[in-house]
Amino acid sequence: MANILAYAEARAGELRKTAFEAVTAARQLADASGGGEVHAIVFGPAGVAAKAAQLGKFGADVVIAVEHERYANNDPESMSATIAERAKSGGHRYVVGVASQTGRDIAPRVAAKLGAAFASDVIDAKVNGDALTVRHPGYWGKVIMTLEVTGSPTVLTYRPGAVTASENAKEARAESMAPAADPSASRVVVKETTQGAKGRPDLAEAPIIISGGRGLKEAANFKLVEDLADAFGNAAVGATRAVTDEGWRPHSDQIGQTGRTVSPQLYVAVGISGAIQHIAGMRTSKAIVAINKDKEAPIFKIADYGIVGDVFEVVPALTAAVKAAKNS
């Protein structure tokens, strides 16, 4: 029996998809360790408590809302202090999060505050007596490591998308908690959070990613990629380093070794050669489509569905066909 504290991520008062993944993962871990309660902790401005209640549907027994006006933005100092405080007072065996940018920022701080053992970006975890055995990709995803983690508590983050959020309804009790450290006293202050493209899901949440490479020739031609993303409706837009170096897309869109690691249901590579550093960020995608005019391009070695052709001809045709399929 082990009680688990799950960090449920919110941004600007809205729960993120990673919040449901964290609670689902915590539920699985609690069940694997002989049952136990999942306590989900959420930070946000006033009103986040009402939204957090739905975490009960994903297996949370208790939902702890920490409301403060400062939590309209992230405040990692007071958030990590509050999570650590709660983990201590609650005697939690595990503290679970998801390795999104925010999760990666918070979790190691919590571990250090607790003096806890830590595992990050985990793809699966097994309770093994007093120890936890986790698997985690390293070396740019080219090696899968199995790690033995001992000590209580243990803090761990799951790779985004490694756990599929699933409903496992519980009657969640609602609690509220005051920040354990005054957010107004934090030394690092988020002055502003600017949202990227509106109306399209972001790379961490999208089940489909359409990515463009240098084969698009110039920034304006990214419209082809955006149009295809819009035709799917639930797709995000990514890019190669060649593209972000040119400034056609922001660095935050870059996929690969030095960019984001993604595992969508579908990855469409448009005018991308498939350099080893790019593949490092997307090789775990479920299905891969590649469109490239060079049939020798390395991307075709890993593409489930390759089309040899000119992106300026193939992509508009695909966009039209996807639209037609969606409407039929």
Binding site: P108, A112, H136, K142, D202, Q257, Y305, E313, L318, A325
Partner: protein
């Protein structure tokens, strides 16, 4: 300004990995090693700051004797001195590495301590924030733009589909993302000068190590690629496969 950069020895990304016979590490035969990607961006950024505003860059690494070469590379880029915190083998416990680094950094009078946002091998992205906690310093992670002035920093952090602008006082810990600076190649003069720069070596104070490597394996191969056709004529077949086989449409 006195800047410390924590750097790690890591294999080159072009490497084709083989697993060592022990099953708990990579086979290092024939593998080229260098400064881990993001750490080299941090070194470059630190050098640019001190070249413009004065001060010095100290590089610190936790690792085996082989990491001397990694530190020497940073010295040849322009860092003033290096410290090797010696271990017997690789360490996969982020907290233990953070303890060793904090022990060395404590009392060093650094205005800024830089990390890479994530190391190439462990892919943990944890050591920077943990070290900051142990030192009680403010910490900003995954920074793609950083301005320093009047004892304060302003940084940009990319989130998924959003970005944060944050402000903080120095001294502070910052972990570096790509985009901040492209690392220089050491000049011949730099390489010669590095041979005479101080490189200290002492045992790492790791403390209790609670994360141990049990196994390393190569990931399952993807099924071999398949070309389904040429040009726009292949689109109907693609759409059919996306509907019937991949079930994403």
């Amino acid at each position: 300004m006195k800047i410390a950069v924590c750097i790690k020895r890591a294999p080159d990304s072009e490497t084709r990995f083989r697993i060592a016979a022990s099953g708990t590490g990579i086979d290092e035969a024939g593998v080229k090693f260098d400064i881990s990607d993001f750490d080299s961006y941090a070194v470059e950024y630190a050098l640019q700051v001190t070249e413009k505003g004065g001060g010095e860059v100290v590089v610190i690494s936790v690792g085996t004797d082989a990491s001397q070469e990694t530190l020497r590379k940073a010295l040849s880029m322009g860092a003033a001195s290096g410290v090797l915190l010696k271990t017997d083998g690789p360490v996969f416990d982020s907290m233990a590495v953070a303890r060793a680094l904090a022990d060395e950094l404590q009392g060093g009078g650094y205005d800024l301590v830089l990390f890479g946002k994530v190391a190439a091998d462990t892919a943990a992205g944890a050591v920077g924030a943990m070290t900051a906690e142990l030192l009680g310093l403010p910490c900003v992670n995954s920074v793609s733009k950083l301005d320093l002035a009047d004892g304060r920093g302003t940084a940009r952090r990319d989130l998924e589909g959003a970005a944060e602008t944050v402000e903080f006082p120095l001294p502070a810990v910052v972990s570096i993302d790509e985009g901040i600076a492209r690392p220089r190649y050491p000049s011949l003069k730099g390489i010669m000068a590095a041979k005479k720069k101080p490189l200290e070596s002492k045992p790492a104070q790791l403390g209790d190590v609670r994360v141990k490597i049990a196994k390393m394996e190569l990931p399952a191969d993807r099924p071999p690629g398949r070309i389904i056709g040429e040009g726009a004529a292949a689109v109907p077949e693609l759409v059919r496969l996306l509907q019937d086989e991949a079930k994403v449409l």
